[in-house]
Symmetry: C2
Subunit: 140 residues, 2 copies
């Protein structure tokens, strides 16, 4: 038997078996060869491509962006502009997300500090602070 089984690909890339099949359904992986019994057998090219996908996913690219990047890989010349654009978009997204999360953190700390945790019998002021949107005007 030559070729890697789907389980072996899974072990080597950390991508779950069901997810690999899902990627195939989405067109990110080609229909691999099959054994007589109908089980998938992969070559090293598929392993490389799956590693690429896994890494790009960890970097937060969505599957459409990854499909586009794969298409660029297949036409190596003149792909710089597109690849750079996709990567730059992603960096911008990440920076925006960080900025928003930082403001969130500030406000969550404010909410938590609204109550000292000791005024027994009184409603917790955290709950009140959560209801109060006035205090965080412009933060989100």
């Amino acid at each position: 038997m030559h070729g890697h089984s789907i389980g072996e690909l899974s072990r080597r890339t950390g991508v779950k078996v069901t997810t690999i099949r899902y990627y195939e359904g989405r067109g990110l992986l080609p229909d691999p060869g099959r054994t007589d019994g109908g089980q998938r057998r992969y070559g090293d090219a598929e392993l490389d491509r799956l590693s690429f996908i896994a890494h790009a996913r960890q970097l937060g690219f969505d599957l459409d962006a990854i499909a586009e990047l794969i298409a660029l890989q297949e036409t190596p010349q003149a792909a710089h502009g597109d690849a750079h654009r996709i990567a730059k978009n992603r960096i911008t997204e990440v920076r925006d997300r960080i900025e928003r999360l930082r403001r969130l953190e500030v406000e969550l700390v404010r909410v938590l500090n609204a109550c000292d945790g000791h005024s027994d019998g009184q409603p917790c002021r955290v709950l009140h602070a959560l209801a109060d949107h006035q205090a965080c005007r412009g933060e989100h």
Copy 2:
């Protein structure tokens, strides 16, 4: 006619009409009164609760956590511990997320810098850098 229509609640809270009905289905809002014709009519208590939910959602609490916070509001005494725990968990989540995004940003910049964008005819090195998981060991 007394009571607010669902559209009025929507306008006042910024929560879409369909979303308000969805919250009702999820048990976050009570079954409100209805007109003879079957349209929902809300009081101020529902408006307040919806504002609470909207604000908590903006802070990234999931609907289960919000349901728990609402339950705490209804039993004001001794709710401090729970409310603080939920809020602290959220802060921890947000900080983790920021940390991971920061590492992501560093690596995305590395990926983008892998190619100067000018070596025409050669495959773009951004694509290679995306495939190469070795260079970012331990980063994610």
